[in-house]
């Protein structure tokens, strides 16, 4: 038994002659909340599916909750909750029927009580007879989270759980995740949202099937070696094109009326700012955002954003 909830080494997954995941290591301690980031097609979903036994591992080994990922898949499934990227509960069953189905599959001892309790917790008691397919995106996501936690798993694997969900629902969702985490649950969440990444204890950043970087948010920003200047003033946005062509400028992005200019060489950035006609614009150095850091990392890794699921 390890103290790691997930302990996998050298995970490789090939589909035909395509390598989707190429040597991923993850050692995730129990009780933490980790974010799994990376562009579309970087191998996040494939890695999660290998960890919970939905895909055979082409190469590599490891354990999940102390069970071998190659040989003890059934045991892993019993103690893991996996929420798929796309809503995958039964649209033609009611909310209650979906929960009952899950409770029976996990052999929950007191079916009615656990379903009633889950419905009450969700605030769906009155709508329990509604077909799951008729729910809005936010409610579908809440139903899915309730369903995958009903059997009290020790590990939650959530694949882009908040995609397409409004900000309030996202916030509620994260409150629930942190609540579950304080009860000792280990949570691995894949996401594209930077604000969600910042809510995680640690981040693993994947590109082209490989881990590009990992660690705490602040450490990732610090080790990115990125320098960012923020310009504010009239017509600052008109400078973006000119700045992008200057040497040393790795990344230019809009923040409302302001512009962020990033690069790893402070002197070159300053020279670039001075080189454009920027009278009336106030420049100051700011702490790079996680997004700045990731875009820089990705550019360096040569990660392509093409979709190859």
């Amino acid at each position: 038994m390890t103290e790691f909830a997930i302990d996998v080494r050298g995970l490789v997954k090939r589909f035909g002659d395509k390598t989707a995941v190429n040597g991923v290591d993850i050692q995730m301690p129990e009780g933490e909340v980790w974010g799994f980031l990376g562009p579309n097609g970087s191998g996040k979903t494939t890695t999660i599916r290998m960890i919970c036994g939905l895909l055979h591992v082409s190469e590599g080994e490891g354990s999940c909750l102390g069970f071998d990922i190659n040989r003890e898949v059934d045991k892993i499934k019993r103690s893991t909750g996996y929420m798929t990227q796309k809503f995958s509960f039964w649209s033609d069953l009611t909310i209650r029927e979906n929960l009952e189905f899950v409770a029976r599959l996990y052999e929950q001892p007191s079916l009615k009580e656990s379903v009633d309790a889950t419905l009450a917790k969700l605030g769906l008691t009155k709508r329990q007879g509604q077909l799951a397919g008729a729910l809005s995106g936010g409610w579908k996501q809440r139903l899915a989270l309730a369903a995958v936690t009903m059997h009290h798993p020790r590990l939650l694997l959530l694949d882009e759980p908040t995609a397409g969900v409004d900000p309030q629902a996202r916030r509620d969702f994260w409150d629930e995740i942190h609540h579950l985490s304080t009860e000792g649950l280990t949570v691995l969440v894949s996401t594209h949202y930077m604000d969600e990444a910042e809510r995680c204890d640690k981040i693993v950043y994947l590109a082209n099937g490989e881990v590009i970087t990992r660690g705490r948010v602040n450490d990732i920003i610090a080790t990115s070696g990125l320098v960012t200047f923020r310009g504010e003033g009239d017509h600052v946005r008109a400078l973006s094109k000119a700045l992008k062509e200057k040497p040393g400028v790795e990344h230019v992005s809009y923040f409302g009326a302001a512009l962020h200019v990033s690069g790893s060489n402070s002197a070159l950035i300053k020279e670039a700012i001075g080189g454009v006609n920027s009278h009336g614009v106030q420049w100051r150095e700011v702490k790079p955002s996680l997004e700045d850091a990731f875009i820089a990392l990705m550019a360096r890794a040569g990660a392509d954003q093409r979709l190859h699921a």
Partner: protein
């Protein structure tokens, strides 16, 4: 619950879910009962392998009492319905070509005179034999009809002209269905055809629907075993098969008056094994097909030979050896022998145990393939 054994709770989870989904899917639900009724009505009422009342044209060049007697005998036989008289041989050819009549019967002038002289005059029967099944029985009956009519007519001085009886007497004892009622053969067979068609198709959708709707990933992420999924998904349709069986048997009894001389329990045993065999095939297809469309196509690949080579449509023993070999591999072939054997012949368990065993073997093979093919991952 230990990891190795199947769980009643999990099987029931799948079962309950399938029942609810089946009930909500109105179209499929309707199909399960509309198809049997439709097929019963179509096959039961419309199909007749001994067609009668076939439209016939006559071309007679003389109208003597003997000729009239012959024509009357044709009509009363039931096979021929005289719809028109022609006087022109070319016209009769056209009538046949156009399909307006199935037969043209020509009696040339001087027929009666030559008959009385003992010259063995000829009667021409032209038949539209493009569909042999439609014309053969009527043609085969023609000589007997005329002979019988003449035997009656040629008495007294003409007695010597009457056809001689053959040197021996042939005694035919048509057992089990002496009147040759087509329905007695078709309706019990339909039970097998209906069960094959609906059950294979419905279970063929069982896994492919989960894959197409994206719920497969969820199902696979949960700790449920292939055997539990299979039993849970098949079980509701055993009940569907039972209801269909009841509908067909009641229709056979009360609408078509098909005799039932054997043991109902023996028939139900055969039906049970046959239903499971079809569900196993359907489930196997659903582990092979990638979409519901493919599952449907596989169903037809199975259904067509079942319909054609089982002995439902055409006599089994009339087929070449290779076709009989394929037929033997299909559960419908064995089931037809059971259902016809029990209902019409009163066959016993000993008579039919070979057929039952053949279906059991079929189930074992289908289940093994399904278990091997069942994908436990998304690979």
């Amino acid at each position: 619950m230990s990891g190795a054994s199947a769980s009643v709770s999990r099987i029931f989870a799948i079962f309950a879910k399938e029942v609810v989904q089946m009930r909500r899917d109105r179209l499929t639900f309707g199909m399960m009962f509309a198809i049997p009724i439709l097929q019963l009505i179509l096959f039961g009422f419309a199909i007749n392998s001994d067609p009668k009342n076939l439209p016939t044209a006559v071309h007679v060049e003389e109208k003597t009492p003997i000729v009239r007697t012959l024509l009357q005998a044709l009509e009363t036989s039931g096979y021929y319905r005289l719809v028109m008289e022609t006087s022109d041989p070319r016209q009769s050819s056209e009538l046949l070509a156009q399909g307006k009549v199935a037969f043209v019967i020509s009696i040339p002038s001087g027929f009666t005179e030559r008959l009385i002289r003992g010259d063995r005059p000829q009667i021409f029967v032209e038949a539209d034999a493009s569909d042999p099944a439609a014309s053969s029985n009527a043609v085969a009956q023609a000589e007997a009809i005329f002979t019988r009519a003449l035997r009656h007519e040629l008495r007294g001085s003409l007695h010597g002209l009457a056809p001689e009886p053959g040197p021996f007497e042939l005694v035919v004892h048509a057992r089990y269905n002496p009147e040759g009622v087509t329905q007695y053969n078709i309706v019990p067979g339909l039970l097998g055809v209906i069960l094959t068609m609906t059950l294979v198709m419905i279970t063929g959708m069982a896994m492919t629907r989960e894959a197409e709707r994206g719920t497969m990933e969820n199902l696979l992420a949960m700790p449920v075993k292939p055997s539990e999924v299979m039993v849970g998904k098949i079980a509701p349709y055993v009940a569907v098969g039972a209801v269909q069986t009841l509908v067909v048997l009641l229709t056979a009894r009360y609408l078509f008056s098909v005799p039932f001389v054997g043991s109902l329990w023996l028939l139900l045993l055969g039906v049970s094994v046959f239903v499971v065999a079809n569900l196993a095939v359907g489930f196997t297809f659903s582990t092979i097909a990638k979409s519901q469309m493919q599952a449907m196509q596989l169903t037809f690949f199975f259904f067509l030979p079942s319909l054609l080579l089982s002995g439902f449509m055409f006599p089994f023993r009339g087929m070449p050896d290779w076709a009989q070999a394929i037929g033997e591999a299909l559960p419908l072939t064995h089931f037809l022998r059971i259902v016809r054997g029990v209902m019409l012949k009163g066959a016993s368990f000993e008579d039919l145990q070979g057929e039952i065993l053949a279906m059991v073997a079929f189930v074992a093979v289908a289940v093994s393939i399904a278990m091997l093919r069942y994908r436990r991952t998304l690979d």
